[in-house]
Symmetry: C2
Subunit: 347 residues, 2 copies
């Protein structure tokens, strides 16, 4: 592999400079992505390996990021488990028209065979690996059991998360039944991704932060840990990113990932002091800083590099996905700034 | 005063049981509130002291809370500073049709004389004090400078907070000019509330949590501190509630409040260990737990009482405002549970 900085940083091996990629880097801010989307709807894009591979590789070609993440959506798992998924253009994100609201519905969900029911993701991974020809490593991903459960029970976006909270507080046994099933599905899915060519995988826990710390550990982190135990890593590093969970960094590190992803509300210097001898850290520029001009973006990059300090174990990233209305030149300036400013931390 | 538990807990004096009230306790979940609102729109309710007083006292009569908070809206300050405020029924909250987007607009804002331009809040406070006849203490409140600035610059609800973040990252001097003006307005407003009869005041920093920790300190906490310095407390305790800012509890306590409010993502036992010798703590039941049946609510109450432990310095509250679709019996069960379960922590 010509550029394995990302994988070496995940393993906390010595590197020449800090690697950088962006969550949601294959996305709407890129005109080349929008050109593909103009021809096809979102779910068809996810399910057409040729197209998914094309948009996955775009940010490698256009921005020079140090890792490629497969283009997909976390909700293809619930769909493969038997739920109807609808993504209407401009209608505020994906929806499950028949959300999970009873134990009977939980029991009807199946644990899919990912190589058969999610074949399109595996085919896309194989295609991307072929086409990358070792330029940069390929990352697979999944939502965490808790985050998938939140979407499946709410059915659509929510401000209060009433239904998933009711399930948790009023019917905790049913919540555990759902989460256990999801943990098995996610572990099988990520194992299949690694077998299909993913060289690292990331678990996104977008909604762990809506829980009090004890409930986060009981209903989210516990099932991430279960995924990590069931998963056949085959040497692939695992990144766990729990948004808004700065209160539980030590517990997350103890769950067994190789890398802990940080959102922008965590001080990466403090995080390194707490868990940096145990895991690598990924993050964590405020994604809205990419609205600012390149000089200001560079300042933000320098500050985070300085906070992390010298030595390996840092993968630069945003603290959440890149926003769809960020100018491409700003994204490029971000990547460049990391490449130019980071070598002095690795001498 | 017949029940001054709340004030004594704010001052960390010995008490017989833990006092309890709820943020947004004068609100939609109460049929009696909805009956008043059926006759009048939201802003008229805010600006009619007779009606504002009526709904402020409702939760004292109906639920037996240990403190009364004046019914109002944090956005009456920006309106008094010269911005047009619109609250359309069912249109997703209040809006500023002409949000602040330039230095010239910041410079045009005036620091209002609260006794003249926000007379209706002062009149409502005087009315409530009269009618309470010392049954429970009366709390005044304001948004924090940062939170008010966020609404004024965004104009309406936002997922990404693009405009306020651009102001902060690209034009920090203009942001400081706006925040400085707001700090002076908030200090004058809270001073006037105390003079009109508020026996404690709370500063709500709803949006401090969208910032990285350093920026939270520079753009939000610094101006809360300025408010606390300018404010003439006259013995009234000040509560500072910064939502999603568990990363900066020590800094918040150092800013000089009497009480730090905690949202439900903070472990109140850990918070007490960190700052409990410096300030009282208010909080922090997950507001969605009030969807659960009374037995489950009681369990949640017991857990938080146990985490805080023995002794004074705890004001029980939700970790955020009560949700509009919570059954009244559940709110009552919450208040009752605190009253019944807490005495043993004060012997």
């Amino acid at each position: 592999m010509s550029n394995d900085l990302f994988l070496r940083a995940c393993r906390r091996e010595e590197i020449e400079r800090t690697p950088v990629w962006m969550m949601r880097q294959a996305g709407r801010y890129l005109p080349e992505y929008r050109a593909v989307r103009a021809q096809t709807d979102f779910l068809t894009l996810c399910k057409t390996p040729e197209l998914a591979a094309e948009v996955s590789i775009q940010p490698v070609d256009i921005l020079g990021v140090d890792a490629c993440i497969i283009f997909s959506d976390i909700l293809v798992i619930p769909e493969a488990m038997g739920m109807e998924l609808i993504v209407e253009e401009g209608a505020g994100g994906p929806q499950f028209p028949s959300p999970i609201r009873s134990r009977a519905e939980i029991d009807r969900l199946t644990v899919p065979d990912p190589t058969r029911e999610l074949w399109f993701v595996m085919d896309a991974l194989r295609l991307v690996r072929q086409r990358l020809q070792g330029r940069v490593p390929l990352i697979g991903f999944s939502g965490s059991p808790w985050t998938l459960a939140t979407y499946m029970v709410e059915g659509k976006g929510s401000k209060t998360f009433r239904y998933i909270k009711e399930l948790l507080y009023v019917h905790p046994k049913d919540a555990h039944a759902l989460l256990d099933k999801l943990a098995r599905a996610v572990a099988a899915y990520l194992t299949a991704q690694i077998e299909a060519g993913a060289q690292a995988v990331q678990i996104f826990d977008t909604w762990g932060g809506i829980l009090p710390p004890d409930e986060f550990k009981e209903f989210s982190l516990r099932y991430i840990e279960q995924v990590l135990k069931l998963l056949r890593r085959n040497g692939a590093p695992v990144i766990v990113f729990c948004k808004d969970c700065g209160h539980s960094l030590e517990a997350i590190a103890d769950a067994g990932p190789d890398v802990v992803g940080l959102d922008w509300t965590v001080d990466i210097g403090k995080a390194r002091m707490m868990i940096g001898s145990q895991v690598a850290l990924q993050g964590n520029l405020d994604p809205t800083l990419l609205y600012a001009p390149p000089e200001r973006i560079r300042e933000g990059v320098k500050k985070i590099l300085e906070k992390y300090g010298k030595g390996t174990g840092h993968i630069f990233n945003l603290g959440h996905g890149i926003l769809p209305d960020v100018p491409v030149e700003h994204a490029r300036a971000f990547i460049q700034a990391v490449k130019e400013e980071s070598p002095k931390y690795h001498r």
